[in-house]
Symmetry: C2
Subunit: 423 residues, 2 copies
């Protein structure tokens, strides 16, 4: 039995043992996947160069995988895709083997991981806490070792917040870099396909197969990293400010030059994403479907999307003007910094806290991630130790096209304090 | 007395004699203008190179001119600008002399020229018919010889329809080519500053002082001009189809290669401008002001702007997606054509016809012009003879950056049948 087949067998055993069926929307039959693995093994044996041969892949439920319905977390919305999404096809062409589609906040509307008729997803490492979303299943599948890589999507932070809450790496490419064809849109003009992996090199290798960003030139010299004064971060979970400062110190010890910047334009852009008219694009995508109603609609998601119907277009024009100003201000703050270091989220709520305040708890989670796509930044979320025995994650944000550069800066934080990987 | 002073004196005499006070919102005192002219004459005498020395300029009432209130056709909206708009400043720096600000459809909302508390403006050449708008006063001031050049603005066709109805040239540059700073926005993301002149060379010289477009490369060979089948133009005024075909023949005789294309994407984009959500940008610009009410609001304009309040943002996102498709289809139809020849308007309504159906008559006028800014085209409207003793105009549209090229094609139609110039 070849390597790919062995890995598939082990993965299905681990999935069975872990007892986390809510991670998946559509786990493929083991026999079918094994047949694919056998083919990959045969091609490798025949000398074919497959950089991801035997790499096990999970795909968020809003991304087309041939042979599985695309549901976006809503079974009655589901359709049979004609083909793999280009992002899936690129990884498969490199030898990756798709185990199935993963659970998610319905229509990618949420950062919590609990808004799904397939069941709430809890953190791989802190079961009483949420997995984060909307790419909840993809992140947990990677964290639990079910798969090596998973694709997510990221509009407000869905490819980063779940990375932070499960102690893994989440790479959100520059907007437009990776095709979003075959992806159910959340906000079509902001959506990105993102990559989860347990380590940065694995995530970077996957991104290299998906896209080749062309970074703007950089001024020579040491890495320059912008950071925020803790006072500008707002309230954080206990111990998170100290953990953020520890990450700064680690970068400084690794030779990076730190500079404190004013986060105001980033915070104002983040607020625009949910408080402004941009959310109306979610209604453009699935509003008519949601209006028709359906027993499997998540009530919070349906409420948010229905409310987006009434946002006026004149406000969208005003928000776009405002955003243009904020983009210039944010770029001025970043200056020649290679990256901006921030906590990925302000805290990690329990499932009970989210249930008690579904919208408020969700909004809080996007405080640092929401601005990235509006400001045309790329980002990588990486583990940065633990607080109170639970994962703490930071995010490095960079200018459009600087995906590789930002990942290089993130590598200065490696190796993170290791977190147990189950499965 | 130098040339500039003589021209100013003659112009004020002509303006006085013509008895068309509704052309102006703010005609400057003759003494003040003469003092400026004296200065220009002195600079020329001293050897300064002023390419527009003594050229008389009218400026549409929504463009800032230092020393005159900017009203956008609504006195209670008016403000004292801090400086000339950059477009005005550029022409003044070249020696042009501003006589005043010109009448317009209020807030540049109209193609008729009748929607103004400063009085309706009728055509220079057919007094029972409308001047066309919204740059009504600028076009008539040029046609009547009050000024040599006038600045207008063009969102839906406001720089072209009045050119056609007054037998002059209207040049609408590529969007973004000429600064719209110091211009009261209509639809800020679509607005252009435009140029009126009696001849193409004068209009082109002015544009050259305002901007330097960089055209995309063209395939060598004769001019290639796309035209439409008359059946695709919809109903036209009597004799206008034949006049359009005569313009085609004239281009062919001048050596241009004609090719009939499908106008459908152009027509669908044109409809999007008024029937879609883009009009909401007018509410973004002046909605709050219009909501407060005011005795000098034009009732039709106020109704249109108030209705734009309720256009939903989700429709704007959908319209933008639709427009992206139409842009590709329109570009495919144009192919390697240097220009698309169309009538500027489908007909020339009488003032009575506009009064009887203010919105319907206006909508009809934009049938061929509305798509240009949405599809990112440049355009020039030029006289092309007469029908029933009244001016008939055609428009040449071209790809972004091809402003000069489109004007060169338009020159093949020169000299037009001369129309009487009064004043």
């Amino acid at each position: 039995m070849g390597n790919a087949q062995r890995r598939v067998t082990a993965a299905y055993e681990g999935i069975e043992r872990a007892g986390r069926p809510e991670v998946w929307i559509g786990l493929r039959p083991e026999e079918e996947v094994r047949a694919e693995a056998k083919d990959v093994d045969a091609r490798v044996a025949a000398g074919e160069a497959l950089p991801l041969a035997g790499t096990l892949l999970g795909v968020k439920g809003n991304i087309d995988v041939r042979g599985l319905p695309t549901t976006a977390g809503c079974p009655s919305y589901g359709y049979e895709p004609a083909a793999d999404a280009p992002a899936v096809a690129a990884l498969r062409a490199a030898g990756a083997i798709v185990l199935g589609t993963t659970n998610m906040d319905q229509f990618a509307t949420g950062l919590v991981g609990t808004r799904s008729p397939y069941g709430p997803v809890s953190s791989a490492l802190a079961p009483e806490r949420v997995a984060g979303g909307s790419s909840s299943g993809s992140a947990v599948a990677v964290a639990l070792g079910f798969v090596d890589l998973a694709l997510g999507t990221d509009t407000a932070g869905s490819g980063r917040v779940p990375a932070a809450f499960n102690g893994i790496v989440g790479l959100k490419p520059t907007r437009g870099l990776v095709s979003t064809d075959g992806v159910v849109p959340a906000c079509a003009s902001l959506d990105c396909v993102s990559v989860f992996a347990r380590t940065l090199p694995e995530a970077r290798r996957a991104l290299a197969l998906l896209a080749s960003p062309v970074p703007p030139p950089r001024r020579p010299g040491p890495w320059r990293v912008a950071v925020a004064a803790t006072a500008q971060l707002g309230e954080l979970d206990d111990g998170w400010a100290a953990a953020y400062e520890a990450a700064q110190e680690r970068l400084a010890r690794a030779g990076a030059q730190l500079r404190t910047i004013d986060l105001t334009p980033f915070g104002e852009a983040a607020a625009l994403l949910y408080e402004g008219a941009f959310v109306a694009e979610r209604y453009t995508a699935v509003g008519e479907f949601v209006e028709r109603g359906g027993a499997d609609l998540d009530p919070t998601v349906a409420r948010i999307i229905r409310a987006a119907r009434d946002l006026p277009a004149h406000r969208l024009f005003a928000d776009r003007e405002r955003l243009a100003v904020l983009r210039r201000r944010a770029a001025a703050e970043l200056g020649d910094a290679d990256a901006l270091l921030l906590p990925t989220a302000p805290g990690h709520p329990t499932s009970a806290q989210v249930a008690a305040d579904p919208v408020g708890a969700n909004t809080r989670l996007g405080r640092f991630t929401n601005s990235a796509n509006l400001l045309d930044l790329c980002a990588v979320a990486v583990p940065a130790g633990e607080v109170a025995g639970r994962p703490f994650g930071v995010m490095l944000l960079g200018a459009a096209g600087c995906d590789e550069r930002v990942a290089q800066v993130a590598e200065l934080l490696e190796p993170p304090l290791r977190l147990a990987v189950v499965g």
